[in-house]
């Protein structure tokens, strides 16, 4: 009689251990699958922000983040995109939470921290500039799949062809999507609201 009970008890423990092991395996497996299907964007960096302070990839963790690559000597796309980002953030109101935005220069040779700071100031305190050595900027841009090409124009001047998408990154540093240039305002607003709530 006692032997039977002991056998049942042992079987129960064995079953429980197996269930935990299987559950652990399944959870682990699905996590791995998630990690392998989500695009891995971004890389470690050491640059300077528009206040002249050192900034690293750590700035993109812990807060939902909007990233935009551009430069100050750009007449349309850059001011319009910055204005849109700043307007959208204002419109979110309290739903903005701790959403932050960064304007990363694709023309760091001309965009010093001071130039960037002055340029972005009217777009509000939620947007910070990032600049630094050209090679470091190029590496960072490449890690985000951002195309940058310096193109000479007249009189020794130049312009910079660059990817104009706005990147949305959640507070865990995970890439969540993009906002295209001149995307429908309501859709862009919904995307930002979702990002801020994640």
């Amino acid at each position: 009689m006692m032997g039977n009970w002991r056998r049942v008890l042992w079987l129960g423990i064995l079953a429980a251990v197996m269930a935990v092991a299987i559950a652990g395996y399944v959870v682990n497996r699905s996590n791995q699958q998630q990690a392998s299907t989500a695009p891995v964007l971004g890389s470690a960096f050491s640059l300077i922000d528009s206040d002249g302070a050192a900034i690293t990839e750590a700035a993109f963790f812990g807060r939902p983040t909007v990233l935009f690559f551009g430069f100050t000597q750009c007449p349309e796309i850059c001011p319009v995109s910055l204005f849109e980002i700043s307007t959208l953030m204002d419109e979110l109101g309290p739903e903005k939470r701790d959403l932050q935005a960064f304007f990363i220069s694709v023309d760091p040779e001309r965009d010093s921290p001071a130039v960037m700071g002055e340029y972005i100031a009217p777009f509000g305190e939620n947007i910070r500039g990032i600049t630094g050595p050209l090679s470091a900027i190029e590496t960072l841009a490449q890690s985000w799949g951002v195309y940058i090409k310096k193109v000479p124009i007249d009189d020794g001047d130049y312009t910079v062809d660059h990817t104009a998408s706005v990147f949305l990154v959640d507070r865990h540093g995970q890439f969540r999507g993009t906002i295209a240039y001149r995307e429908n305002h309501q859709i862009a607003l919904d995307k930002l609201r979702l990002l801020a709530s994640l």
Binding site: V80, A121, F123, D157, D161, R182, N184
Partner: protein, 205 residues
Amino acid sequence: MTLKLTQGCLRSMKQLSSHMIAPLCGLVFAVFLGLFISALADGMNGLRIKDGWSRETTAGARVGGGYLTVMNHGQVPDRLLAVRAEHAGMSEVHTMAMQDDVMVMRPVEEPLLIEPGAILELRPGGLHLMFMQLNQQHVAGEMLDIVLVFERAGELDATLEVLSMRDSMDRMRNSGDHMGHGDQASHDKNGGANDDHNDESHSHK
């Protein structure tokens, strides 16, 4: 000639009843007057510049854009050779296009052709005036005086109204710019290439 014609009319009036000949003479005068005016207009340039505007710039900005429309009401084609602005160290006509999410901007390679009856539009998302080395901020509410240099019409003054960022966004939405219609490629092509403007102009003939 007009005098001879008048005398002719007066002589005819002696032979015919005046109530029949007077309207005829009026018609002849009207035709001559029309020819005279059109000859005068032919001598002048038929270019009309309108709807000039620019976006306000932030204090740190070294460049600014400008947009306007040129209509050719004349009988001859013309070309936009250059743009001059005192508030900028260098001014050019540029074209801009989005290619796979990449912003590509270039000075136009050849002067933009405007055929008779054609309209040249410089607007967001495509052709624009590019002011570089700004020595003055574009301040909302102010007017910018610029000069457009044409091959035939010569130098024509134009003004650009500086719009606030918010107003410029409204203008972009309302003017049916090249972006945000889901068919950017075809629009950009029309706005960006000189050849397409030639085609456009021919179709007006």
